[in-house]
């Protein structure tokens, strides 16, 4: 029975436990940053796509203004600042490319009971038939849509209901307007901004907010395979309106997010470089400390390549432990990372922002091992060049 190089390398690392542990932690931190970043890259786009798909339409028509501000407000459940006449819907429906439309009236009121110092509560005035037809992803946890388009009834998103502990049949008071609505439906969680929204009938909303015959937005679902650009061109002929394509919104948000990604990537690269320097330092220090021992290994038959592999194996062990620990940290702390990223981004879609799957785990582990092995090359090469005679004489450090 022989002792393997793995055993020798592993036991060598145990010699300076604290130093080895700190190096593993350094590698783990960089692996954590790396896997979280890559998970964010993937998760953000997936969540944004899902949010946009869940909107149920590809184009929005609204009053002229900043289209992206309006689109973002809409995604965040905020209020559109300008209004268009509801008759515009008829004009849109006439277009052959259009499969379905739904008009919205978005409004926001200040709710002094929201949060510690009050907050904005979003209300969506919607037509239940057309809205439900477009938003096929919306499912009821309890209840159903409003019975009457003039009713003072509300359908609450999952989080909105959860936050206020509302049940079917409860009465809710709309702040500022002092109007009561009966909760007739509570939606399932969608992971989108709909979760925090309260829906009321469009006509009731127009009455309450004093906007008769006015809406903020028309959501337009296109027929399959039609030329979106051509329809946009035609819709622009309607006075005082603008058309926002959600794919453009997505591209714009993604380009804004790319700045944040570059920053996080820079941090990840710095973390990896620090970890690399840590690995080189640890292994090099360990080589110098064992200078005589390594020389003796050569007198008992080790070739330079044997020593190189032995030292390289130590690097591999450190990086494997560090990489696995970092991935476990990333998996456990994904929710915390999610909250941290969400707090610094101008807009974040619903659902998980950091998505870590098996492929990502393997890619990260391979990257950490690759970087680790690269870092281990110099110390391993130096160790391989130690001459036994120098080691025996104790001429350390040339």
């Amino acid at each position: 029975m022989k002792i393997t190089k793995w055993q020798v390398a592993y036991k060598n690392l145990l010699r300076k436990k604290v130093r080895s542990l700190l190096t593993v932690i350094g590698i783990a931190l960089s692996a954590w940053v790396l896997v979280s970043l890559l998970g964010f890259n993937r998760g953000y786009e997936t969540s944004l796509n899902r949010d946009i798909d869940n909107m149920g339409f590809q184009l929005m028509l609204m009053a002229k203004g900043c289209p992206y501000e309006a689109a973002t407000l809409m995604l965040q459940g905020g209020a559109g600042l300008r209004y268009i006449k509801q008759e515009v819907v008829d004009e849109v429906v006439r277009q052959p490319e259009v499969e379905q439309t739904t008009p919205y009236l978005m409004a926001a009121v200040f709710d002094p009971n929201k949060g510690s110092s009050g907050g904005i509560a979003g209300y969506f005035g919607v037509e239940p038939q057309s809205f439900a037809a477009l938003k096929s992803s919306l499912k009821f946890r309890q209840g159903k849509w409003f019975a009457d388009e003039n009713a003072y009834e509300a359908v609450m998103g999952y989080e909105a209901a959860e936050l206020e502990q509302r049940e079917i049949g409860d009465m809710i008071l709309m702040p500022e307007k002092n109007v009561e609505f009966k909760v007739v439906g509570i939606l399932n969680r969608t992971g989108t901004q709909d979760d925090g929204t309260t829906f009321i009938p469009l006509k009731t909303a127009q009455k309450v907010f004093d906007k008769p015959g006015e809406i903020t937005t028309i959501g337009i679902k296109l027929k399959k395979g039609v030329d979106s650009a051509r329809l946009e061109e035609k819709l622009y002929k309607i006075p005082d309106v603008q058309v926002v394509s959600l794919s453009q919104v997505k591209d714009t948000i993604m380009s804004l997010i790319s700045t944040a990604k570059v920053m996080v990537l820079s941090i990840a690269i710095i973390a990896i470089l620090i970890a690399m320097v840590g690995v080189i330092n640890t292994i090099l220090a360990s080589v110098w400390e064992r200078f005589q021992e390594i020389g003796i290994l050569k007198t008992i038959g080790a070739m330079p390549w044997d020593i190189f592999r032995l030292i390289w194996t130590e690097t591999l062990i450190l990086c494997t432990f560090g990489g696995i620990l970092g991935i476990i940290m990333a998996l456990i702390l994904a929710r915390v990372t999610d909250i941290l990223i969400r707090s610094v981004l101008p807009y974040a879609p619903g659902g998980g922002l950091v998505v870590i799957d098996l492929k990502l785990i393997l890619v990260t582990l391979a990257a950490i091992l690759g970087i680790g092995l690269l870092s281990g090359m110099y110390p391993a090469w130096k160790a391989g060049r130690i001459r036994p005679l120098e080691a025996i004489r104790g001429e350390v450090g040339r």
């Binding site: 029975m1 002792i3 036991k11 060598n12 010699r15 038959g301 080790a302 025996i392």
Partner: protein, 231 residues
């Protein structure tokens, strides 16, 4: 145990070191031969060149001039100079080394230390050698201990077992008792004598201790880089 046949032959072996602008002749025109099964001791004061000589004989260093052969194989001489890689090959096939400071790996057990050379190079039929040697050297009961848990004399026994595990033809011992008390020193030399007698191992031992040196079959003294036979 004296056997027939040439083991090592040195002819006009010289080693010159340069320190700053000064040239130091550590080994000066040394010529001698060691036969298979010889137990040779080399004594001499510090700086006399005995360690340099044993390093040259053990292929740990190249001489500046002169010739060296192992059996019928020429190692140095007539312009021939071995690379570090070639020296390693010669070393692992022919020599076992023990040193004053033992150089055991502190994180490996006694048995693992003895097995260590086999990780890098293994001669045929040496699988059971480690256990046999540990028993032979009275270290069987200590095989799972770490070097820090055994005495200096025991550490040197482990170092001897490690040097012997690949069945070398020649054992080079550089001050093997330098860190041991009189009793342990005598025990180690006795072990070397046993190995020489029972397995026909050629032993070359460098020591300060004249009394221990006399235990060898042949004794030389180094003075100012030159060698003089005593016994």
């Amino acid at each position: 145990m004296k056997q027939n046949g040439l083991m090592i032959e040195a002819k006009d072996l010289t080693k010159v070191y340069t320190r700053g602008n000064e040239e130091i002749t550590s080994v000066n025109n040394v010529s001698f031969r060691i036969d298979k099964g010889d137990f040779v001791s080399i004594i001499g004061p510090s700086g006399s060149g005995k360690t340099t000589l044993i390093n040259l004989l053990g292929c740990l260093d190249n001489p500046t001039t002169g010739e060296l052969s192992l059996g019928s194989r020429s190692i140095f001489g007539k312009g021939k100079r071995l690379s570090e890689r070639e020296l390693t090959k010669v070393r692992r096939e022919t020599f076992g080394y023990i040193f004053q400071n033992f150089y055991l790996i502190p994180t490996l057990t006694v048995r693992e230390n003895v097995l260590l050379p086999l990780t890098f190079y293994q001669k045929p039929d040496t699988e059971q050698e480690a256990d046999k040697l540990l028993q032979l050297l009275g270290m069987g009961h200590r095989q799972d201990h770490l070097p820090g848990q055994i005495s200096g004399g025991e550490m040197q026994r482990v170092a001897i077992a490690r040097a012997m595990v690949n069945r070398p033809e020649i054992l080079l011992a550089d001050e093997p008792t330098g860190n041991l008390d009189t009793k342990r020193s005598a025990e180690i030399v006795q072990v070397l004598q046993e190995l020489n007698r029972t397995v026909g191992l050629t032993v070359i031992m460098v020591t300060h201790n004249q009394e221990l040196a006399r235990s060898a079959g042949r004794m030389f003294e180094m003075r100012d880089g030159q060698i003089y036979p005593i016994i």
